[in-house]
Symmetry: C2
Subunit: 221 residues, 2 copies
Amino acid sequence: MGPKYSSSRENYLKAIFHLQEIHGTVTTNHVAGELQTRPASVTDMLKKLKAQKLLLYEKYKGFKLNTEGRKVALQIIRKHRLWEFFLVEKLHFRWDEVHEIAEELEHISSKKLIDRLDEFLGFPKTDPHGDPIPDSQGRWTLTHQVDLLNLPVNLVAEVSGIGDQSAEILELLNHKHIALGTRLEVKKKFAFDNSLEIKIRNQSVTISEHVAKNVFVKYDE
Amino acid sequence: MGPKYSSSRENYLKAIFHLQEIHGTVTTNHVAGELQTRPASVTDMLKKLKAQKLLLYEKYKGFKLNTEGRKVALQIIRKHRLWEFFLVEKLHFRWDEVHEIAEELEHISSKKLIDRLDEFLGFPKTDPHGDPIPDSQGRWTLTHQVDLLNLPVNLVAEVSGIGDQSAEILELLNHKHIALGTRLEVKKKFAFDNSLEIKIRNQSVTISEHVAKNVFVKYDE
DNA sequence: TTAATTTTTTAGATTTGTCTAAAATTTATT
DNA sequence: AATAAATTTTAGACAAATCTAAAAAATTAA
Ligand SMILES: [Mn+2]
Ligand SMILES: [Mn+2]
Ligand SMILES: [Mn+2]
Ligand SMILES: [Mn+2]
């Protein structure tokens, strides 16, 4: 048997899942923006996902995944993140190169494949961007993290996640040698533009509010 | 950019490539049989592949790939066989489990991915069924092998390839402990039904003509 | 509370890949 | 060579996913 849902449907499920994590409920325009498609196409797909009993949807009223839809979405996210981990750890890709490839690999249907891959990789808990990898039952361990704007000054912390994951921000972070696991300290906050001066391996680095908002760290206590 | 050709088109190219290796030129029914589809669907696709300049085709006259079509087909075969190797060597799948999964993985488009995978695997020359893996330029080294029916008696040889690769024959070979690299010797040929008695690790095993025809070996001299 | 604006849905097309049934062509048989 | 059988192609249909333009509904502003 082939895949249970088409790649397109899987992409919709994943996008809706992510959007409802942020906004609680999801709108047609949200999804169209996320998937670079037209609102009319989204509406078409909503009907299909509802007919397949993956989605709670009444027209003009917004929508969200039901239990089954969430379950399916989590398995796709699991595949996406395990493949990203594989690409970085085993094939030595950079973290800003893996997303697009994983966008394709996440649609490979074999469950056995993904469980074997998980084992081969040593059951990693997070992907190369610090995002948690659901286990084969769709569970994940959530880590409590704060963004850099909310990190108290003079407190050593470790980078544990990235919000916006566009190639642009990843390139900037690469340049400033900020990666997952990097230890750093906020030395100064400028009230004028909310920019920060941080210390990384004894080097002083300045980052904008926009960047700071998208870098998450964890620290003791 | 996404894939250059759809999965469907890639499957046709691969099927035509294999069939023309055997028969020189290919017919509509051949392809329909190979791809489990209808002759009318094949004709439809032939027109598209011709329009894309991958195929030499005039109606009612048979067809074959042109240089470009062959090039594309070889890259898909490369991907298929590298993924099969990965599945067996790294994820410990059996050789009779990998074909279907590789049928999906072969359509992942990233060229960089497949070249990195090749490197990660140590540039293997053959897949788990003994078939050669084309390099990134589409070249492969052909090995001269004979099937078991044509192996002289009392001559130690090594299994190097399998003809028919259905799950059924692979299961039979597994059961009789015949795998790639197995060393064996034909001890007796029965003229009555062309069955063979062969010696594997000092054990005597009998195989039918049908099996013998599909087991290829190489030997010195 | 109307009116204007934005969002969402519908109606109708288009593209890709597939199918069945019928027609055209080639191949095999008498 | 004529006929029968097999193969291949065409004609016309359908499902999936997408789009544009227009209509409907909801939201915001006056
Ligand atoms: Mn995807
Ligand atoms: Mn990621
Ligand atoms: Mn395939
Ligand atoms: Mn193989």
